[in-house]
Amino acid sequence: MKTICFLFSPVTHQIRGKKVHTALKVTTQALATTKDKSLTKENQEFLDNVVNDLYANQPEYRSPLADGPWKRNVYTKRTLRTGVLAIKLGNLPQWSKDGKKITTTLLQVIVDNHVIRYYSPEVFKTQAGWLPRWSDKYGSVVVGALSTDPRKYNEQYNEQFLEAGVPPKRKLTRFLVTQDAAIQPGTPLNAMHFRPGDFVDCSAKTIHHGFQGAVKRWGFKGLPKTHGTTKKHRSVGGIGGKTIVSVWKGKKMPGVMGGKWRTLKGLKILRINTKYNVLYVKGQNIPGETHTFVRINDTVLPLRRKTENPPPMPTWYPEDESEQLAEEYFDEDLFQFTNESLDLKTGTK
């Protein structure tokens, strides 16, 4: 079987006046093939059925999970687990048990999150995109989401999913993991990877505003509206000093606004819906518009990591649950809508 390296190397384009940011975290290396229009409707339906049965029955696409699971390690202080890919669904208000309003963001962990590949630290070291400061601490995990029709992509792209035995994915992303959190390709990931009360980091691309002036991009005041000002109402003004005959680096000026990777750290998970795999995360400012892809992983903030009550390692498996999975799990501090209204008379909140 061919091994194809995922392209994660930073690319910079030297275009004058246009700033393009590096660090490509989510990539699709897909080329659409042209659809054969000469097929009849029946033949088209037949092919559709073949595609749907392909990953269930063909021995070529056998899941590696059938060989038995890998060894599960104990969570330590230094462990870095894999993350998941989600889409942002929008904001909803929720209330705490004190009666305070909390704005939450709904993140749907897309149902078919699968581990596509795991690279051990030795292999990862030889790949493009590896940074020397990582030394041999981290391996990497490629996670994919949104299963698609393989006819949409070229052969080279589809072959990458043979190892995991899953349909080709539209979106791929890479997470750094320590060696004790190694995870088997083909493993499905879902919202139960986290628990209510855990803290997570969410990273996504901010809304792309295009090329904007300094007033919108940096909140500058502009020049006076009256007193003879002509055609300069939204201008920057002076950009240099008296003594230094140059412009300081990082001077705030017009340019491309948004479309950058940004991370919000230490967000609390307040509620989990297991039916639709939705996480209710505290905070209203997760980057991007509705239906953007969001990378969610355990927080890096040391005081918010739960080493005493560790999360499931390397991920949650259905066998872990002794009872039947409830539809919803709540944080201790969150008000549940099935409860009675708040009664402050009795002194209990």
Binding site: Y55, L89, G90, V111, G259, Y276, G288, T290, T338
Partner: protein, 281 residues
């Protein structure tokens, strides 16, 4: 042109329905029941209609939001009310000695979508105008009552701020006047006489039916005509389509509300009976 970095709503739906993805069905109103939904449900439960902004719509989020709303309505009775109705609201309040506070007033505005739904009550207490905004699904709200169920001629009554206080003064001891079941909601044809200028807003520029003749100089009406909506704008079909939920979606949501309302009503009557027995003891 800035790049779109997110999936379109229809693309997301396509993936959710794909056979390659094992996504659970998002249930909507049952089709088997052939009951006709009352036509005015759109105005009785306006907060159940989703945000008309197309790019922000998501079927799963709307489903989860409405489920929470039904759950809350099973616990507390949220009665029918309109702008112009006189209402009484009790909330849990830490700052008062009794840990509760009750407020009576006229509903001057109502809005918000889903769990964000709100209404504003206005009253004049000891000569001072008081307005309080309540959120309908806030768990600190202990009870909502409509003392007088009626409508006014306008969609909002913010002009009461510039009217004499007697138009918005209501006693806290007002008793509820129920209207017979099945009758149409009465519309109060009261026309308010505003105080002389200066005002908080230029009321002459708004198309208000509930105020008396303003008797301003002609130049005010001339300016109002310039700022008024152009006569062809009310026939702009695309504008209407973008700012409203279409008829099919409205029907589907209201059908679901109608089906869920039976269980909610049953729960409310049970609770009311329980309260009566408690008081007797």
């Amino acid at each position: 042109m800035p790049k779109r970095l997110s999936l379109k709503p229809e693309e997301v739906e396509k993936y959710r329905k794909s056979k390659l993805i094992d996504h659970p069905d998002v249930p909507v109103a049952e089709k088997t029941q052939r009951e006709t939904v009352p036509a005015d449900y759109r105005f009785v439960f306006p907060e159940f209609l989703p945000d008309p902004e197309y790019d922000r719509r998501d079927r799963v989020r709307e489903r989860l939001e409405r489920d929470d709303m039904y759950r809350r309505r099973m616990v507390i009775e949220i009665p029918e009310f309109y702008v112009g109705s006189i209402m009484a609201v009790t909330i849990a309040d830490e700052q008062t000695p009794s840990k509760e506070s009750r407020f009576v007033g006229i509903c001057i505005d109502r809005g918000g979508i889903g769990l964000r739904a709100f209404f504003i009550l206005r009253n004049v207490v000891d000569g001072l105008g008081v307005e309080i905004m309540y959120e309908m699904y806030d768990p600190t709200v202990l009870s909502i009552e409509t003392l007088l169920l009626e409508k006014r001629l306008d969609n909002h009554l913010y002009y009461l701020r510039d009217a004499p206080p007697e138009y918005s003064t209501f006693s806290f001891d007002t008793e509820a006047i129920p209207i017979p079941k099945g009758t149409a909601i009465p519309v109060n044809p009261l026309k308010v006489k505003l105080n002389p200028r200066p005002w908080l807003e230029r009321w002459e520029r708004q198309d208000l039916k509930g105020i008396q003749e303003l008797n301003l100089p002609q130049k005010f009406y001339d300016r109002a005509e310039i700022h008024a909506e152009k006569p062809w704008q009310k026939h702009d079909l695309m504008k209407q389509y973008r700012s409203n939920i279409n008829a099919d979606d409205t029907e589907q949501v209201m059908k679901e509300v109608h089906q869920r309302k039976k269980a909610i009503d049953r729960e409310n009557t049970r609770r009311r009976k329980e309260a009566i027995f408690k008081n007797k003891k």
